[in-house]
Amino acid sequence: MSRALDNVIVLDLGRQFCTALSAAFLADFGARVIRLDLLPANAGPRPAGWNHEADLIHRNKESLALDLRSDQGRAVLKDLLAKVDVVVTDWQRDELAAAGLDYERVQASRPDVVYGRLSGFGPLGPDADLPPIDELAAARTGMMPILPQPGQPPVYTGSGAMHASVMMAFGVVMALFHRLETGEGQEVDVSLFGANMYGAALDLQAFLAIGKGDRLLNPISRLDVSNPMSGSLYPSADGRWVTLTMPDTDRWWPVFSKMVGIATDDPRFDSHDKRTESHRLELIEALEQAFQRHPGAYWRQAFMDNQMSADVIEQFDYPADDPQVVANRYILELDHPSFGKVKSLGFPIFMSDSSARLERLAPCIGQHTGQVLDELLGYSAETIHQLTAAGVVA
């Protein structure tokens, strides 16, 4: 089977989870991704047991171990850069320049390179060189104070970094698409700040447009939710929470009211305006009591029977044990060479003619050095031996 990116070679210089995952995504869909592991290798403490993180964010990649401190090492890098279509990095600009890996230098070796860089706060402006730390970006985005219940500490979700991961892959593939037509490469910048802002989609756009509003600046209690039937949370009899998204309450009220045991013609709640405005708080109170009459499992079935956009709030064991998640390959069951049967995060996109692959788990440092030098760079066995003996590669 052909894969979407199987003519693309990527050099992966990602340090962070989200950047490395972005490169892994390109590899999942066919790109040959070569991870540059710098020598001397950092012999940090190895986690005990399965290195599940590496086997996710470095899957399908090759590893080239190279020492950039010597002239010979830099010469190998230069040869390598001439062969790569894409660079993905999250290094700071001064570090890239020092290593000869800044855009200008890479472009000198490979004029049509697509150069993707994850930044903290974007390529321009006074904070362009602040470090790419998702927590800093999230703190600045304005959402953290309004996610929890009133009086609770701000909440960091980690979703901004994942948005950045997917945006980076999107930008890189779009730039590759442009290159296929025109032969032109370019720089792609995705920042954690920009990605966090996109995750804060509706609240942020609302505040941009309205410019004020306590309900957008302070947390809203779940007992003061704007629509009792949409965006709301109620505890059930066994403590599991239910959530509803039925913004069009007129459509759902007849069947919903029956399900929760409120008279459909209760005059307090017999119109959308009464339910969401004049008698909103009473309805919240009534639902608070109604949902406590039965456990979560009962409500899940009721929501299913009525084809309602509502559900029980689950923990990770739910998707982990959901056969449909495996059927869709969102989670993979695999036979790990060292740890046996394990589950690992899969692929979010189904493609009929170029499906994602899992060809191998994370490489060991330098596992593919010889192969890359031989196949890709065309070095002779003698040269490879000499470079290895000199400690330039490993």
């Binding site: 470090p131 730390i133 996610l147 609302a206 309205i210 929470w241 998204t245 956009s309 059927a327």
Partner: protein, 402 residues
């Protein structure tokens, strides 16, 4: 300026948020996106009048921003004549995108097989709720899917209700994921000439959104699924702290030198002299005590004063801003994460979310806000689809178009 998606035409049969935002990403980079809407009322997103009980403002920013740079055709797809118009459009298009249910698409004779038979080069993209290989058929919205993934249940202090990551958060993620899938298929098609079917579901996208924590859970770390208190984080130097004003996010690694610098910035002798905190292992073992000491120090100051002290010592930290701060943030404006554009509805410039992906040679562009319902129906039928005026009149008489 050249456009990355020059010459790519997208049929955008989507409603609400996730599908429209996927097509918006493509439109921003130059694709010709034609939104297909039902004649009566159009996309339900046009009807959004309030957000969190606040009026949306004097212009409909919910709809107009995520449907920017698009055209609109109003077509009744329940009618065979309406379907014929769509087929003719599909012949001239590169991408078909829909977040309607697969049953509905089949009822309207818009299945993959049907449209691919008309245009074998077509990239046919759907956004199901729970994936193609699921039996679940009930309607899916951002928050009900987020609920299933487990991502909400791990957020917040222990004992607090689960936390939704913000209105439209999961939809926004599903949208960029869908746009990425379409780009992969378009890239491959430019090489091979073949279209294909792809699905990016809300559930699949949101499971990927939970990657760091879900993967850890899958590897047996059960605590990754649970709420964790900020009073018990393993590294006290990377944590949220209250001040007299805003909260502050301190982001320092658990290293002796950084510990000393934070202690100096806070003038917290107790941090520096207590032997329990002399190395990384000690700080991790006595994290709760150290967090309390740091918190006692940060509470003495306003956030500005505290940030000034942090800046002096080179400590990495940020105040936890609110939305009023971010809309004034110069960094966001300079990078075009926010932009100004003309809004016809109110005859003035308005502020909108801009371009989160920066391409140096083919940057995204904001040409116009979302279209009026059906504003391009007749023009596109004549110029692009080459209908005669009499045929258009006949379509109107049959109710296929308004």
């Amino acid at each position: 300026m050249s456009k990355a998606l020059e010459g790519i035409r997208v049929v955008d049969l989507t409603v609400w948020f996730q599908g429209p935002v996927a097509a918006q990403h493509l439109a921003d980079f130059g694709a010709d996106v034609i939104k297909i809407e039902r004649p009566q009322g159009g996309d339900q997103g046009r009807g959004v009048r309030s957000i969190k009980s606040l009026e949306v403002g004097d212009w409909n920013q919910y709809f107009l921003v995520i449907n920017r740079n698009k055209k609109s055709m109003a077509i009744d797809l329940k009618k065979a004549e309406g379907q014929e118009i769509l087929y003719r459009l599909v012949e001239k298009s590169d991408v078909f995108l829909s977040n309607l249910s697969l049953d509905l698409l089949a009822n309207w004779n818009l299945s993959y097989d049907k449209l691919a038979s008309i245009n074998p080069r077509l990239v046919y993209a759907t956004n199901t709720g729970y994936g193609l290989f699921s039996s679940a058929s009930k309607p899916s919205f951002d928050m009900t899917v987020q609920a299933l993934t487990g991502a909400m249940a791990r957020l917040g202090e222990p004992g607090q209700p689960p936390i939704y990551m913000g209105m439209g958060s999961g939809d926004a993620f599903g949208g960029i994921m869908s746009a990425l899938g379409i780009m992969l298929a378009l890239y491959q098609r430019r090489r091979t000439g073949k279209g294909q079917y792809l699905d990016a579901s809300l559930y699949g996208a949101q499971l990927y959104l939970a990657a760091p924590y879900l993967q850890s859970f899958l590897a047996g770390h059960r605590e990754s699924a649970l709420q964790q208190s900020r009073k018990q984080v393993a590294n006290p130097l990377w944590n949220l702290y209250p001040t007299r004003g805003k909260w502050v996010y301190l982001c320092e690694p658990n290293r002796d030198d950084r510990h000393a610098v934070v202690g100096r910035a806070l003038a917290a002798e107790a941090m520096l002299q207590d032997s329990r905190f002399k190395d990384a292992a000690g700080r991790a073992a006595h994290n709760e005590a150290l967090i309390e000491i740091i918190e006692n120090a940060t509470r003495q100051h306003g956030h500005e004063e505290l940030m000034a002290a942090f800046d002096r010592e080179g400590v990495i930290a940020s105040p936890v801003n609110n939305l009023a701060d971010v809309i004034r943030d110069e960094q966001a404006w300079q990078n075009r994460y926010f932009m100004k554009t003309y809004c016809e509805e109110v005859d003035r410039d308005v502020d909108v979310r801009g371009m989160p992906v920066t391409l140096s040679r083919t940057p995204g562009e904001l040409r116009c806000l979302g279209p009026q319902l059906g504003q391009d129906t007749e023009l596109l039928m004549m110029e692009l689809l080459e209908y005669q005026w009499e045929e258009i009149e006949a379509m109107k008489a049959k109710g296929a178009i308004p």
